[in-house]
């Protein structure tokens, strides 16, 4: 093969891949929202040591952090319809994208829960005690004193988790999702030229990761200035 690597093809494929970028971003965004919401709930279960729920949260987090997301995705894809069928809900006709979003959301929840828990634990106990001593309720102390301080601690780790999530979405194509990676595979199947497609995908993921990193470092700096 003479023209083994054709750089102009990389630029030809880039716009085609970018046209599927919204799917990748949709997965990342919705999974982050689900993950943060569930993550806060799981973290609270563990922080306040609510019986039974605390143990369930520990097992859930351990499972989600101990198994590959690839396996989780297929378990949700095959298992969720079976589970819901027993209650009488038929989701066999659902778009595959929903399953992917659910999986990534559930996965992110486990990682976020640990992150949030660690951040809240790192706030000294005295802060909560001081809040109680001036007559705040538990909820007030949490929302006005503990939460704002822990957000600043969470932010850098959240940035890293978000970049990890972005990179994990590259596995969604195994379920047949036509996101950036899915498009690369489609191109490779059509043209028998796989290398250029993967190089373009690498460029897209690289630029997105750097972009996310920069955004988070800017936000962090802004927050620190406010704090001081």
């Amino acid at each position: 093969m003479e023209n083994y690597f054709n750089i102009s093809l990389v630029f030809k494929y880039l716009p085609q891949l970018l046209s599927r970028l919204h799917i990748t971003l949709l997965i990342v965004l919705s999974a982050t929202v689900i993950g943060l919401f569930l993550g806060v709930i799981l973290a609270l279960f563990r922080l306040y040591r609510i019986p039974v729920l605390n143990q369930i949260a520990i097992v859930y987090i351990s499972f989600m952090r101990g198994t590959p997301i690839l396996v989780q995705m297929f378990i949700v894809y095959y298992g969720l319809p079976m589970l819901l069928m027993k209650i009488g809900i038929n989701i066999n006709r659902w778009d595959k994208l929903y399953f992917v979003i659910i999986t990534y959301g559930l996965n992110a929840a486990a990682f976020n829960a640990e992150m949030i828990r660690a951040a809240i634990i790192s706030i000294p106990e005295g802060q909560a005690e001081a809040a109680y001593s001036i007559g705040m309720t538990k909820l007030q102390a949490f929302s006005r004193i503990i939460a704002p301080q822990s957000v600043i601690i969470i932010l850098p780790t959240l940035g890293i988790a978000l970049i990890g999530l972005l990179q994990d979405t590259s596995l969604a194509f195994t379920l047949g999702i036509l996101d950036v990676m899915g498009k690369v595979n489609a191109i490779a199947a059509n043209t028998y030229r796989s290398l250029e497609g993967y190089v373009s995908a690498a460029i897209i993921f690289f630029v997105l990761s750097i972009l996310l990193e920069q955004i988070f470092s800017i936000v962090e700096k802004k927050l620190h200035i406010q704090k001081i």
Partner: protein, 236 residues
Amino acid sequence: MGFDISFMIVALKEAIKYIPVTLILAVIPLIIGSIIGTIIAVIRIYNIKVLSKLVQVFVVIIRGIPLVVILYLVYFETTNEFDTIAAKFNWNIHSKDINVIYIAIIAISISAIANISETIRGGLISVGKGQFEAAYSIGLTRSQTLRRIIIPQGLPVILPSLCSNFIGLIKGSSIAYLITVVDIMNGALITATGNYKFLEAYIAAAIVYWALCVCVEKASFIFEKRLSACVKGEVL
């Protein structure tokens, strides 16, 4: 179609057989990553001209690309280009003869090098500049400083994150099934190709992965405790 527990146990037994493959896919990259990662970390800490910038670019680029993309790039690179090179040098090897597991190991190692170098760099930085200066002031050379002062202090910081890197590698190695490596994932799936009971197979694979990761976590916890006791004993 209900859940078939007896089949899940069949898949589980099959998956357990392939634990060594997954461990090879995770341990070899861990070792390669630790060695080259340490070199990269040292280059970056000492800020060696040109080389430091070069490895920094490598680390940033590799960390920005998902493992699957690296895997496919290495896979197609070797399968396509290898034959051309082999023909040029009159080698008697074809890309088809290369075991895919080597390709997977190379791909996972590349990403492991970048990730582990950051872990090690973070650990070495956490030791503090004063330690370097103090070591130089009593006449230690650079390599002596690293061996006797910096690495012993950085190790307790590095090891826990190295263990979480290892867990990440175990989980990351599951994508090797995409290039037809038969690891835990594929071992479980092969049993299901006959009867389409994929859910059972995936759950069996999940259980094996989970058990592996929990074991590594527990081992790391014990190791960490010993180490911190050891370090404290020395200091006090």
